[in-house]
Symmetry: C3
Subunit: 149 residues, 3 copies
């Protein structure tokens, strides 16, 4: 039988503006801070992009890998020609970004154990921007049980 606790919840928004159209930003410290502030001892933490041309995903903090992702995603869903995407007939030029975000995912759900991110050795949380150069938001929502007093 699991541990009993009173349920608590906490919400935090991160604001991210990348100077380039595409970028990967390590947001692990911000998520850790939200978990600390929540007081949740055992629970779950949802981290999701609030915009539909961006991703939140977990992988390695290694610049070569991020360049591999960038080139691979550009191969699977090229930015140009802009006319390639019907979505861009609405006046947008970010059709590719809506596709890239589906590969990398909108959100991650992470376990909280003993008040901390319950992570494997190399797991880090990234914001993946595919249509940047403007303010975007990431939502962190924590729910779970409070720890022993």
């Amino acid at each position: 039988m699991g541990d009993k606790a009173t349920m608590i919840s906490h919400r935090k928004e991160l604001v991210i503006e990348t100077p380039a159209r595409r970028a990967f930003v390590n947001i692990t410290p911000d998520v850790e801070e939200a978990i600390r502030a929540s007081g949740v001892h055992e629970g779950l933490c949802l981290v999701n992009a609030m915009h539909i041309t961006a991703s939140v995903f977990i992988n390695d903090d290694e610049p070569g890998l991020h360049q591999d992702y960038e080139e691979w995603l550009e191969g699977l869903a090229p930015h140009e020609p802009i006319s390639r995407y019907r979505h861009n007939r609405t006046g947008e030029d970010n059709g590719d970004a809506h596709l890239k975000r589906q590969i990398m995912g909108r959100e991650v759900v992470v376990a909280i154990t003993e008040g901390r991110l319950d992570f494997g050795p190399w797991e880090q949380i990234f914001y993946g921007e595919f249509d940047g150069r403007r303010k975007k938001r990431v939502l962190v929502k924590v729910i779970g049980g409070a720890g022993p007093d």
Copy 2:
């Protein structure tokens, strides 16, 4: 420290039958209704396809984009020739649908804040059907804390 509450849960099934093999259906109003019915004030809502040739995902409610998704997925995992997929040797013709669903995802987890979907400006929840023309089910599971009386 987060807000304290008693934990509650709620379950709802949606039934969807699309006339075409492939389709995208906006199910946001159904999820909102399930959250209202749950009485959850702060929590998480899981929305998942109960079938393995369908997706639930979050993106834009824009018909041109949906056509882009359709063509892109057909390029990444073509329906024909049927013989392309070993899975179809079982007598099925939906091998492609099992692949397309992995790109678009099985589920979304969304935050509930003050009794409502905690969404960015353009986020909408879609059911993605890749092997339709029969009844399929979507599960909505809500857990979290009840609001103040």
Copy 3:
């Protein structure tokens, strides 16, 4: 209004070592066992790879389909030439595995209803290994409400 309950949580780690570089392993029985052990009657269960070259996903337990996935992923992100990926300049040879894992996903979140996995007819949980031949871990985290006494 949903059912009221006291919140409980439970954690379990699975250890998996596949003899081949790539493999799919059905872990549904292990997750069911963790849910039973948790005592959670209504809630959510997170199952995630703790390593960034592996996936947890839900699909069909059909060997032909798994071979389709293997070939499809190899086409989208080939293992060779090793020099194809900048990540491999760090001395690794698993650049492809970091890409394949993004297609198949890191985690699933599943509903628990009346103490059991709330699944459609064919849903099964798989561990997807893309860089095996060594011990890897999967995390199962259960949170929710205890059932009636």
